[in-house]
């Protein structure tokens, strides 16, 4: 197996040069890049004013994508320093400290009987609040904020039954399940009032 050492040297040199080039962009290149970005940003969204939009936070639970209305969300946060609380239902994972406030974290996967994944550092918490009640909803991944047209939202699917159907606001064509935060927060099942006897 003869090795074409000159070719190897050439390739190595080319790679090194490419890295150099990437790390030390010329002013012209920088300008070119920024200009390209600006151009792409400058493009106007198509006829969005005429329609009703829902702003939602898109997140992942197990293999399904869920969304929750932005107006109900307070903030998103990393799942840090979770403290399990005894004498609570299984869907209550525990409590966390978010900017000095203590919130309980609810795992909707257990609530919705979805397959359970282990907790990781990648898990996020979406803080929702209503009428002074704050709650942390566990999300596997947060995809981001989206605006979806109201008309795209379809009523519940026949496959979605049980408890999920109760909290459902609608489903998009992309199988994004939009939850009704009002119902979720006002549901007495989720409110825990138990006393230690």
């Amino acid at each position: 197996m003869a090795v074409d050492w000159p070719a190897v040297h050439h390739r190595l040199e080319a790679a090194r040069a490419a890295v150099e080039r990437l790390l030390s962009l010329s002013e012209q290149d920088k300008k070119f890049l920024l200009k390209a970005r600006a151009t792409s940003l400058a493009v106007l969204p198509r006829s969005e004013a005429a329609e009703e939009y829902l702003e939602i936070i898109e997140f992942q639970l197990a293999s399904e994508t869920y969304g929750i209305e932005l107006r109900h969300a307070g903030e998103v946060s990393l799942l840090k320093e979770l403290t399990p609380v005894p004498c609570t239902p299984a869907f209550v994972l525990g409590i966390i400290n978010v900017h000095g406030r203590v919130l309980s974290v609810v795992d909707l996967k257990r609530f919705f009987d979805l397959p359970n994944n282990a907790l990781t550092d990648l898990n996020r918490v979406i803080v929702v609040r209503k009428d002074g009640m704050e709650l942390g909803i566990l999300a596997d991944t947060i995809h981001g904020v989206r605006r979806i047209p109201q008309r795209e939202l379809q009523p519940s699917l026949p496959t979605l039954t049980g408890i999920r159907a109760e909290y459902l606001k609608g489903v998009t064509a992309e199988r994004l399940i939009v939850l009704d935060a009002n119902k979720l927060l006002s549901d007495p099942k989720i409110v825990v009032r138990e006393e230690l006897k």
């Binding site: 702003e55 107006r71 903030e75 990648l122 947060i142 981001g144 904020v145």
Partner: protein, 591 residues
Amino acid sequence: MTSSIGAKIGSGFGLALAILIVIGAVSYSSTAKFMDSAGWVAHTYEILDNVAGFLSAMKDAETGQRGYVITGQDRYLEPYRNAAAAAGQNLENLRRLTADNPVQQRRLDALAPLVASKFAELQETIALRRDKGFEAAAKMVLTDRGKEAMDQIRQLSGEMQEEENRLLKERTQEEKERAQGTKSTIIFGSLIALIFVMAAGFAITRNIATPLKEVSQAAQRIAAGDLLVDLPATNRRDEVGVLTQMFLRMTQSLKQMSEVAKQIAKGDLTVELVPQSEKDVLGNAFLAMVGDLRKAMREIGEGVDVLGSSTSEILATTKQVTTGAAETATSVTETTTTVEEVKQTAVVSSQKAKRVSESAQNVAQIAQAGRKSVDGTIEEITRMRSQMDLIAESIVRLSEQSQAIGEIVATVNDLADQSNLLAVNAAIEAAKAGEQGKGFAVVAQEVRSLAEQSKKATVQVRTILGDIQKATNGAVLATEQGAKAVEAGVKQATQSGDSVKALAESVTEASQAATQIAASSQQQLLGMDQVASAMENIKIATTQNIAGAQQSEAAAQNLQELGHKLKHLVGHYKLPASESKPLAMRAATGT
């Protein structure tokens, strides 16, 4: 004639003996008388001698006396002294010898006083001469007393001599007569005895010698082989008669034997023979001979049969030998050709072996060079191993650096995540702000997009890092394998070096072997030459074998003819039906 020959001979000899005894007796008496007469003659001569001696002694005495008287010397008395004794002795003898003759006795009686007187006179004279001298003695002598006595003595002595001479004459005559008588007795007696003995001898000879002569003549003829002798039959019962009879019987037996021999000579072996006695040597020998001849004839017959078959076999064998020899000759020719080919092959193999030896030397040199190059290869590979170590080190460092990059990327990812969250929160805040927060929402959207891009970039970088990691792992593995390969290469090269060394040794051995092969081929060539010469010898021997086999064949044919002749000869002999009878006879006769 019943008396035996011994008796006959004895009677003849007895007659002769009796005659001899008579003659002997007569001769003895005649001889005895003759001897008596001769004794008397001798007696007479003795007396005469004594008389003469006496006279001589007397004369000696007188001579001695005279000498002494004359000389007076004692030594002259010697004869006198001796004569005295001698005269006495002679007288004594005469008295004894003439005792049978009274006349002579009387003369002796007369002589005695005379002798005494004479000796007394001589004594006296001698004594006188000694005592009184010569004169007295001469006077005494002159008395003639001595002379007278001496004369008387002489006279008496002469008478005695005369008497004796006369007696001698008488006696000699008588002796003569007696001798004549004896002679005639012996002559006549002998003649008579001769006649008798001759007569007896003639009779005995006639009685014994004639038949013996006849028998001896017959024996002579038999000795000469003539058995047709004819002896007259005799009824004599003495030894001669028995001899004759036995001789006749012997002749008959011999005739019988000769008849048997004739039959045997004619070839008739069926003859029956009875031996004369147990000690019949000839008969038993004949019997044994006949038996042996039968046996021999049978055996010869069998032998001839065997000879015939053997001859046939020999003929067959000789034919086989001849054909075999011919085949051998062909084979020998083929072998010779083969040997020639083998020789050429040996030459070729010798040359080949030489070439192999040369090329083996070349190969040994090449192997030497190969070993050197293998050593160089090992050195190179060792250097390569250190290079590989350097490569592995570099790759490990690269891997570590990519780990650092990974950490940086993780940080960037974390930052991107946090930016994303921040962007979401910003969007939430913007939403809270309502219409006024719309621009902020756009910024938040933009931030989020950047975060997404960063995240994607980090993902890409991570992927690339993973690829790099994989590549470095692969490189490390490859380097490791390379190192192993280098190790294996070193081992291989070492083995190659050993192999090359072994190859060189093998080649050296091969070279030696080739040299040995060349030498062996040379020896083989020599050996093949020897084989070729041996083959030539075998060829000659085979030719001789063929000639010998042909001679053998001729000899075997001669042998066959001889067998036929023998068969023919044996066929002449008549044999009894079985062998048992002669054997039994032999057992009975004890031979």
